[in-house]
């Protein structure tokens, strides 16, 4: 960020940071508004006053709001932020706005791991999360190896990832169809990615993991942005390339896989959020904080749309994010063609 400010002097530098600050505050406000709307929304629409009273610890609908709706909203905010961060990490790593984990099949891979643990193993929350992360890392390694050919290319990695994604999605459907009926019904519910039925008891582990990885990422953010500027820049500023890359891949996959283990593959948040955030703060790289905030807003907002659009039918939130993200990807491509 300071690299942008330097040529135009100190004043410009401060102004850019103020823009980031204002944009971030606005995003926090939007995310909070989306979250509050989510709290008002259930079988019917509750009055905001009742919801506010419930949050303060009383009122007529206290139980419904704090036991049923709040975990869903908290999960939406945290998972959206996690997906936004994961997208920012991979877009920085591949130096390509399309190199996000959902496009290249990491969600599908993590979901394969989740399904395997659910259908074969014992299916404890820790086991599912571990299987999800392990399969996500294996998928990342596979895609990387397959896309290596006379050097590394971001766009080739993306299309190789699409091929891997196709296979894994097919395998996932097969596992779901093969499984026992009750497991299969649960798995189908989130094969499109869904926050339906999320309760406090589902959130403890994923929130801890996401929080820990976010802190780790904040510590590594400076060298990550150096890396995004190019190997040479990073090397001259003393960044240990191989170690940093490995750390970033592990953190990015960890974030994606943790969300997938709980909510299924929610695609396209990781693709869209970093790019929208980047434009809002007019950054040259792909900054982390705006990506996380936009991700939280997008997922919570999409979940409100998913609940309200065809009420009383509650859509899986993944259906909404897929349509919105696909439209955004089309726009991104159309714009790049014009240039």
């Amino acid at each position: 960020m300071s690299a942008v400010g330097v040529p135009v002097g100190r004043g410009a530098h401060v102004r850019i940071e103020r823009r980031t600050l204002v944009a971030s505050l606005l995003l926090v406000a939007t995310a909070a508004a989306a979250g509050f709307t989510g709290l008002c929304l259930g079988d019917g629409w509750s009055s905001p006053r009742d919801v506010a009273a419930a949050l303060a610890g009383g009122g007529p609908i206290d139980f419904v709001v704090t036991r049923w709706r709040l975990p869903r909203v908290v999960g939406g905010l945290a998972f959206g932020a996690a997906l936004g961060l994961a997208g920012a990490v991979f877009q920085n790593l591949t130096r390509n706005p399309l190199g996000s984990p959902d496009v290249i099949g990491l969600d599908a891979g993590a979901y394969t791991g989740t399904l395997l643990v659910l259908t074969v193993g014992t299916g404890t929350a820790t086991g599912v999360a571990a299987g999800s992360v392990a399969a996500g890392l294996a998928t990342a390694a596979l895609i990387y190896v397959l896309s290596l050919r006379s050097g590394f290319s971001g766009l080739r990695l993306v299309v190789v990832g699409i091929g891997v994604n196709a296979v894994l999605t097919g395998v996932n459907s097969w596992i779901v169809l093969r499984a026992d009926l009750d497991v299969a019904i649960a798995a189908t519910a989130w094969s499109a990615g869904s926050l339906n039925g999320l309760g406090w008891e589902d959130l403890g582990l994923p929130l801890t993991v996401v929080g820990a990885l976010a802190v780790l990422l904040a510590l590594a953010s400076h060298p990550m942005h150096q890396l995004a500027l190019g190997d040479e820049v990073a090397r001259t500023s003393g960044v240990a390339l191989a170690g940093l890359r490995l750390l970033l891949v592990v953190v990015g996959v960890g974030l994606t896989a943790t969300v997938t283990a709980v909510a299924g593959p929610i695609v396209f948040i990781a693709l869209v959020a970093p790019q929208v955030g980047r434009r809002l703060v007019r950054a040259t790289g792909v900054p982390l904080l705006p990506a996380a905030l936009v991700g939280a807003t997008l997922l919570t907002g999409s979940d409100v749309v998913a609940q309200a659009l065809l009420a009383p039918v509650v859509l899986p939130v993944g259906v909404v994010t897929t349509a919105v993200g696909g439209a955004y990807l089309m726009w991104l491509l159309a714009r790049e063609v014009k240039r």
Binding site: N165, L310, G326, L329, M330, L333
Partner: protein, 348 residues
């Protein structure tokens, strides 16, 4: 014949090192082999399913049918129409892929990947909502219109760059299938009978009237064969084609129309199925070399064989019931996509 790429060739696409015109004996032998394999797969498709029927009994079901014999009834009323549908859909999708790959010089182009089948599927879903009692012809027409609209959009966004086209197709598929899924979830009753269709499957489509799809696909395949010679000339370069008296623009437009109709009808019959149009032309091209007529001919036979074979797999992969055949083709096709990106797109 030269192997140097024409000036209009897409940058980054390495032309096949195979000679442009192989001795016709090679593709002819491959055609005979393909027909034999196809025949065996058809026999397998008639014999395998919930009730396994011995090959001899399959033959007897046609030569000496017993009205009360459950094996003969299953073979004649369920498996035969389903196998015929698989043949039609496979040939249509494979030739659609061969046409669009030849015309755009994009080795990754394919109706499924480009979002054309997703456009057709959404159009069918919308038509079913608006006109629940609509005719089969109406649904097929809607599918073709949806396929055409998707084709226009994906070409406008993706232009001629192979990898960009794939991304545009993936994005378009995401939007269209998201909308389609939302509509189907909202009106679950109207789509109960379409549940298998919507994920790309031939299960439950056995009683579909076969005549109309067969006629349209047949016409499309004939059109593709007629267009293959002028396309051959265009592949040598537009100037050469003009010199040979080929109406380049008209051939292009007719090719796109043919591809759209084939993909649209296939989707109306079997739902959105991807990757058949990618796998088959790449296999066929290894034998056909640069000859478009051979490419189209082999794609008809191999496309039918691939989908009949995939449909047999779809029936045996689960202890009970069917896997959607689109899942089988996706699992087979993903590696082919990776292989094509690694082998044929240098420096992209």
């Amino acid at each position: 014949m030269s192997t140097t790429p024409t000036p209009s060739a897409t940058p980054g696409v390495v032309t096949d090192p195979v000679k442009r015109r192989p001795a016709p004996a090679l593709p002819a032998a491959a055609l005979v082999l393909g027909l034999v394999v196809l025949g065996l797969l058809v026999l397998l498709s008639l014999a395998v399913g919930q009730r396994d029927v011995a090959p001899g009994e399959v033959v007897r079901a046609f030569t000496d049918p017993g009205a009360g014999n459950p094996d003969h009834v299953a073979v004649r009323t369920v498996r035969l129409p389903r196998t015929a549908l698989a043949l039609l859909v496979g040939a249509a999708l494979a030739v659609g892929g061969a046409l669009v790959q030849t015309m755009t010089r994009n080795p990754l182009a394919e109706p499924g990947i480009l979002g054309v089948t997703a456009g057709a599927a959404l159009a069918v879903v919308v038509t079913t909502i608006l006109l629940p009692d609509g005719s089969q012809a109406g649904r097929m027409l809607a599918a073709c219109a949806g396929a055409a609209a998707a084709t226009v959009v994906v070409h406008a966004v993706g232009r001629a760059e192979p990898l960009r086209m794939v991304l545009a197709g993936v994005a378009l598929t995401a939007v269209l299938s998201g909308v389609s899924l939302a509509i189907r979830l909202a009106d679950a009753e109207a789509f109960d009978s379409h549940r298998f269709w919507s994920v790309g499957s031939l299960a439950g489509r056995e009683q579909l009237p076969l005549l109309l799809p067969a006629l349209v696909v047949g016409a499309g395949l004939v059109a593709a064969l007629l267009l293959s010679r002028p396309l051959d000339a265009i592949a040598l370069g537009e100037d050469v084609a003009h010199g040979l008296g080929v109406p380049v623009l008209r051939v292009r437009v007719l090719t796109v129309v043919t591809m759209t109709v084939l993909a649209g009808v296939a989707t109306a019959v079997a739902g959105p199925i991807a990757f058949v149009g990618l796998i088959v032309p790449h296999v066929a091209r290894r034998v056909a070399g640069g000859s478009v007529p051979w490419l189209v001919t082999l794609s008809i036979v191999l496309g039918g064989a691939l989908l009949v074979g995939s449909d047999v797999l779809a029936r045996v992969l689960l202890p009970t019931g069917d896997v959607p055949v689109a899942i089988v083709t996706a699992v087979l096709g993903g590696p082919v996509l990776v292989w094509v990106v690694r082998r044929r797109l240098a420096g992209a």
